[in-house]
Every structure is written in C-alpha cells, then in structure tokens.
Amino acid sequence: MNAPVKPVGFPLPSSVKVIPGTEAAQASYPYFMQFAKGDDERFWFYNSMHFPEPMSAFDTVTGEAAYIALGAANTRVHVLPTVLGIDQRIINGRIYIGGNAVTDPVQIGRRVEEFQQRGLYYYANWEQLYAQWKVKMLALIKDAEDIKIPELPEFDDLASVHAGRGIAQNHFVLTAYHKTIEGYFRMWHHHFEFLLLGYGAYMVFFEFCKKAFPEITDQTVSRMVAGMSPEFFRPDDELKGLARLAVELDIDHKFPEDGKADEVLKSLEQMGEPGRKWLEAFEKARHPWFNVGVGDGFYHYHRSWNDDLSIPFSAMPGYMRQVREGKTLDRPIERLKAERERIIAEYRDLLNTDDDRAAFDQMIGLSHRVFPYVEDHKFYCEHWYTTLFFNKIREFGGLLARHDFFASPEDIFHLTRFEVDAALSDLMTSWSTGSAPRGPDHWPPIIAMRKAAIAEWAKHPTSPALGAVPDVIDDPAIVMLWGITSESLNAWLNEDVTSSEIKGFAASPGVVEGIARVVKSVDEIGRLQEGDILVCPVTNPTWAPIFRKIAATVSDIGGSMSHAAIVCREYGLPAVVGTGTATQRIKDGQRIRVDGSRGVVTIL
C-alpha cells in the first residue's frame, strides 16, 4: 500500500482575495473581523453550518454576540482547562472561525483547579441551575417583547412635559436601541451558560462507546442520549394537533394544499362555531410554539412561523390527509423511550467488566442529565429570541424608512449595528435641531452597493477551510457540533472532485435514491417536491414540515449531533451531513443515492 499523501493544507487567509468590485462592502465589516497579520499561522474553517450564506452587515451581530458569549463562558466563567474561545473573521461575506487552545501544562493545571469549582459546580447543580435558566430566559424574552420603539412626533408628548420628565422623546430611540442590542448579547450569554458543558458530558459518553464498541455508529450513540425532549418537537406536535382538530371539526376542506394562510383564516372566521373553536386553539398554539424560525435564526430573513404562516399552513393539509387516512400522527414517545432503554441495556450487557458497566452507568447518567438543555435551548434562544430580536430591529428600520433614510424597513439590515447607532443619532439630531437628517443622502447608494456585493459573493464558492491543518482537534464544540475532525479535514483536502461519490457523516440510517434539490437558502424550500432529496449547506430541523415531504437530506456541514441529524432520525429519513462540498458538486435535478448508514452520497 502506498503511504498516505501528506495533505498540503488549505489556502492561507492572506491568499484569499476580496472579489473585485466588492471591496467597499468587505470594508464595511468591523475591523476586528477582518483577516489580518498573524492569521496565516492559524487554522480557520468556514462556519457554513450557522452562516451558510454571505452575511449582511447587520447580521454579523449574531457572530459577534455568540462568540463573545461562548468565549466568555469557556475562557473566564467555567474556565475550561484546555480550550478558550473561538475567533471569527469575515471575507467575501463568509464567516471563518478558529478555536484557541491552551497547551501550556502550567496554565492547564491552574485552569483545572478553577474548573473544579466552576464548571463542575454547574454539573453538580444542573437541574436547579437549569430551572433557574428557564425563568431567566422567559423574563428576557418578555423584556424584549416590551421594548417600545418611540415615534418622533412633531412636538413631544404633553403629558410627559406636565409630569416633568425632563427627557425628550428622541432620547428613548437610543435607549430602546441599546436595550434591544443589549438583550441580544445577554441572550447569547444565557445560550452558552450550559451548552459546552452539555457537549462535554456527551462527549465523555461518546468516547467511551467508541472505545468499547469500535464499530458503533455515531448515530447509535446519540440515539442512546438524544431525541427525547418534548420541547424540541413541540411546534410540529402543535401543528399536528391543529390538523387533527380541523378533521374532528369537519373543517379540513377549508385548508387547500396551496391555500394562503390569511385567506384560510378569513374563511374560518366567517364560518361560525367550528371555525371559532379552531381559531381559538390556533391562537393558543402559536403563542409561543409558532415562534420557531424557518432557519437557524442567524439571519434576519429567517422569519418565524408566526411571521410567515405559509410554512405551517402548507404542512397542515398533508397532516390532515394522514389523519383522514387513519394514520396516527403522534410520535410514539413511549415506544421510542422503551427502544432507547433496550439499546442502552443491550450495549451495557456486552461490556466486559463490572468496572466498565459502572463507568458506563455514570457516563450515560450524566449525559441524560445534561441533554434536555442541549436540545431545548434552541427553541428559546435561536428561534424565539432571534426572530423577536430581528423583528425589533425591523421596527427601527421602519422608523428610519419613514424618515427616508432608505426605501424599505428591511434595508436596515445592510447597516452594521454600529452604523444603525449612528443613523439613529443622525435622526435624533435632526429631530432636535430641525435640520434635515444626512442619512437619506448617505445610505441609499451604500445599501445598493452592499446588496450587490452579497449577490455577487453568493455566486462564488469558498474554501471549506483556510490555513494549516492542526495536529489534533480537541475542542468539544468543534468536533460535536461542526463535525470537524482530523479525518474530515483530510477528506476535504484529498477529495477527488471528479468522483461521483461524496463522503460525509452517517447521520441517519437508510438508503434512498431520488432527485436532488440543491437549496442554498430558505427562500427556495418551496421548490421541494414530494420524494425529493434535500441538498443544502446546513440541514435545518425547523424546516420540519419540509421533512415530511422529502426522502433524504444531504448537507455540507454538521456532525452526528447537529439538530438536523437528530430530526432526520426522528423522521426516519436517511441523512449524510458534513460532506464539505455537496451543494457545490451536486447539480439541482441530478439523481443521487443517499446512504445514511455509511455516510456516502453517490451521483447516479
């Protein structure tokens, strides 16, 4: 056998050029997110799992807030002994990230001591701290919902004058904006309060299983731990409940396959008692369970079901048909639980020694304790809060649009968070002085230029990684969440792009052939037909209604514990994730075979 070819490495960051004509748009990103001297010595990978599309200027706030919070938790709060935070850089609208490791044994020793009274304290008090977390999180959501974005009337409110408030209305534009931004950063701190610890505990069990059963699949390990959270599947369950109710009330004919949500709602309002009953249930279900994003919540255009009812309403007719055919829509939770217990018991029985069995019990016990957080936090953070946050920013967009800073409230997302601050200051100044604001002349050409740049960037593929390949990848988040391991990097490097086989992680078992639909952004999910295979940069569990239609899923990025993998297993769909390049190599409409047991996609 030939010796393996040593990988040459990925392109250096300094060799990646800004696409001509987009230099000004690239320069609009904050200076601390630009590649700079010294970055060539480090390893970076394209975070296409969370940021599969070029980032608009405002949306970079998500990367900023998330990595600030993640880094703070690892580096300063829980004090993880060997890993610090994750740095991010942006080029051509693409976010690259790179982890920071601690390698000095003296530093690791100091951090181990700190970790024992911090990280370990969290594990020891998990249930109580998590109960407290939910209260905190709901209060934070309430605070954000309550933020009022003031209008700027010609004259200040008389009542506040008489009350002697002593502060003019324009001041509250700024405080409301700062409060909105502050809440978002705070949410991300909450998000990472438990997450890495949760992944760490899971990884302990994962590594044990891989050692004891070298040929166990990733998905079997995760089946022993994951997929049992009631909240994770709640939005879809609510939808099924509404479909069942409509059939019971005999009003399901009011939900045509291609019906528009507002027309359906109007026709229900006009039909008396049964319609009223359904609408009442609908209102109850949608608050809060329709606060689920159609994306991962990291882009302003990932709207929630509540914002865009077309997604839940396009799913309901299918569920209604299944109810009429006498199929049960319930997820057989008890059966799934019993199955999970059986799998755990049988693997346990195969262990060789009492010590192994005792260690196995301890590790799976810990995994089961931490996992509800790992699954549930997404609904509160990535779905409910992010869609709420972007809607608040939209309201500021509306305010600025009404003062002619730009044409549409959506245009605000082409300003960075710092520039929005400046534009609001411009508006407050002009409201104070009585002069015209400068924004209406300043922003429209800049926004047009940035929109064009994003459209241009989307046309260009980007390297899955940059810089030198590290010897070991030790960061639990990077391994578990992004599926980035030394093996996957080598596979990316040595990939034969002319081969008809694409390898990735076996995320959900089964073999299926079908037509590939390459869906690069959420706007395109309407193109998916019954039986199609979804090929996307990142699989997204909240496209739940779509998962009912498709036959399999293939993604560029994602590990065995990515939510997509979990949802595909739940729906019994074959899935191959973390392929690196599937969306670039598979052409829309091609016939492909997805082998979710082996992690191989074949172009037929």
């Binding site: 993880l80 002994p81 060997t82 890993v83 601690v102 044994p105 690791i108 181990v112 970790f115 990280g119 370990l120 594990y123 020891a124 610890l197 760490g200 505990a201 990884m203 302990v204 590594e207 044990f208 050692k211 004891a212 059963f213 070298p214 040929e215 166990i216 699949t217 998905q219 079997t220 089946r223 059986r342 799998i343 049988e346 693997y347 195969l350 262990l351 060789n352 020694t353 010590d355 192994d356 005792a358 260690a359 196995f360 019990d361 301890q362 590790m363 016990g365 810990l366 070991v472 030790d474 639990p476 076996a506 078992p509 073999v511 082998d595 047991s597 082996r598």
Partner: protein
C-alpha cells in the same frame, strides 16, 4: 431416519457426541436441534471407519505398517502414505456397512441428489493447522457409489504424510485414530459466504460482520473473490458498512458433479449479493447461534436460489476470544470527574 451405531442423523446428535460424530457433525446436529435451518444430512460415525479398517486388517495388516515406521525417514513415510491411501480408496467397504450408508443416502437424497461429503475431526487439536490435510470437503457428489468413494477418500486422508508424521512424532497410538464423515444435501446457493458474530477487525461484540459473494461459498472460503462486506449492529439492526466489491468469479455446481468456476456476468459484478432483508435475516440467525453456544461464532451460510437461508457450519471464533479485553474506563468516586477526560487535557 433412525440413527444407529454407524449413522447419526443431525436431529439426533449434538456437540456431546463429538467423539463419535466429530466437531463438524456435532455442530450441525446442535444447530438443527436449536431450530436453525441447516441442509439436512447425517454423519457416518467413527464406528463405520473402525469397521472398515478392521475388515482391511483382516485381509492384510495396516496399523502395524504405520507403527513400524521411523518418523525421521520421510521417504519411507511418504511411500507408506501413498500405499495406504491407495488401498483405502480402492477397497470396498464390508457389504453390510455399504448397504447401511447407501440406505441413509437414499433416504436423504433419493437416487442421485447432490450431497457434500466432508471429514469431521473428533479432537480439538485435529482442527489445528497441523491437521489441515484432514479437512477434506467434496461438493456436489452424486450417486451412492460416488458418495461411498468420497467417504473412503476422507478416511484415507488420515494416512496423509502430514497426518502420519504428526502421529508418529507425538507417539499417538494407531488404534486411537478415527474419523467421522458428514453427508449433507447440497444447497444450490445463489449467494454464500461467512459471517462472524463479532468484528474480525476490531473484536467489537456489538456487530455481526458478513462476507458473501455470488454462487457457492467455496469461492469466499477459498479466497478466490473479494466478497461484499457488511457490518450490522446486533442491537439496532443498522447496516453500518456496505462494501460492495467487484465479484469476478463464482462457483456453481457442475452438471456431472463437482464445482465449476464461471465468470460473473458484468451487470452482476458490482451489485450487492444480498438484499437488506437477507442481511437482516442473517444477522438474526447469527445472534441466535451465538446465544445458543454462549460465545462468538464463525459461521458459513448460503442463500439458495429460492431465497431460503441456511447455515452450513458454525464454529467458535478463536482470534479475539483468546485476547484479554482491556478495560475501557474505571468508575469515578464522583461521576462528574469523568468530564475531565474531555476538558482536562488528559487526552
């Protein structure tokens, strides 16, 4: 189908009968009695061999010739081997014995249905590499005369140079020499191969590793094709590995008896030789056999032209079972301390 001192039908024998039916025969009986589909057959017990040898001794000495040999005189051993083997192959069995075996064959297979005739060694060390010459198998044997001939060939292999040298070197008495022979209906296999109830690569006991190819299993056992390879979880049934290889040749029964080697038609070379349902049925059978024996097994199997699955043989897995399993992890006084293996820089 009554078993006698000479004939043991599979349904009547088990591993405890090893001294008279051999390891292979005992195992086939054991599987049959455990309700696992095995091609029907019987064992010609060691008593038959002894009756044959006694008849030969009556006409001219046989054991004495071996006992008189000088183990270091290889030429003499070789000449003696050649002579005795020819004698065993050419000599008829006593009439009563012939009639009894031919009767069992007729009962099993009718006048000319094909059977496999295989030697079945009676001692553990006879299965060693040193006795490799003993492991004779004749496939697609048809007609009573040919069956009787092949039984004698199996018996004659006890007088191979290797066997003689081994017995002489270890001072084993000639009176203790015995061999049973299995006569078993052939399966006209569409697909056949082997499977292990633990991974042969890693020793993982949670999986069944299956290897198979088109036609009779002899192409897989003999290493003449690269078989398709499947790894299946015993616990979830998930097929985690499917290595479909290019299967160029297949063994098929020859019209006149024996086995022909044919090219696999191009369109069948790279398609899987087993369906998912068959893989799952094989896995279930593997689990059942392992449970029956209480230890990991190495199994030969076949799927016939009608799709029916049958086991041809099962023996204990030896490679991994002899290794001391290393402990995976120790329990901690405080279970939380396990996380330090991830976060603590101990990797």
């Amino acid at each position: 189908m009554t078993s006698t001192e000479t004939i043991g039908w599979f349904a009547d024998i088990g591993l405890v009968d090893r001294p008279s039916v051999g390891g292979k025969g005992g195992s086939l009986g054991e599987l049959t009695r455990a309700g696992i589909a095995v091609p029907p057959g019987f064992v010609v017990r060691t008593a038959a061999f002894e009756r044959f040898i006694e008849a030969l001794e009556a006409s001219a000495p046989l054991r004495a010739e071996v006992e008189a040999l000088d183990p270091s005189d290889l030429d003499a051993v070789t000449a003696c081997s050649k002579k005795l083997r020819a004698r065993l192959e050419a000599s008829d069995m006593p009439d009563a014995l012939r009639a009894e075996i031919a009767g069992a064959y007729a009962e099993l297979a009718g006048a000319d249905r094909p059977v496999a005739v295989r030697s079945s060694a009676t001692t553990e060390d006879a299965e060693d590499a040193s006795f490799a010459g003993l492991q004779d198998t004749f496939l697609w044997v048809m007609g009573a005369d040919e069956v009787l001939h092949r039984i004698r060939t199996c018996w004659a292999s006890l007088y191979s140079v290797e066997s003689l040298s081994y017995r002489l070197k270890h001072g084993l008495p000639e009176t203790g020499v015995a061999m049973a022979v299995v006569v078993q209906t052939m399966v006209d296999a569409r697909t056949a191969g082997v499977m292990f109830t633990r991974s042969p690569l890693t020793g993982d006991r949670s999986v069944v590793a299956i290897e198979g190819s088109w036609g009779l299993g002899s192409s897989v056992v003999g290493g003449e094709v690269t078989p398709d390879r499947f790894v299946v979880s015993k616990i979830t049934g998930e097929i985690s590995v499917r290595d479909i290889s290019k299967k160029l040749i297949q063994h098929v029964p020859a019209a006149a008896g024996g086995v022909d080697e044919l090219d696999v038609p191009t369109e069948r070379q790279t398609i899987p030789c087993l369906s998912d349902e068959e893989i799952s049925a094989l896995t279930d059978t593997a689990k059942k056999v392992e449970r029956h024996y209480g230890r990991p097994q190495d199994i030969e199997w076949a799927v016939d032209q009608g799709g029916a699955l049958m086991l041809l043989q099962s023996r204990p897995e030896t490679v991994w079972s002899q290794k001391e399993a290393a402990p995976v992890a120790k329990p901690q006084a405080d279970p939380l301390m396990h996380v330090l293996s991830i976060f603590g820089g101990k990797r």
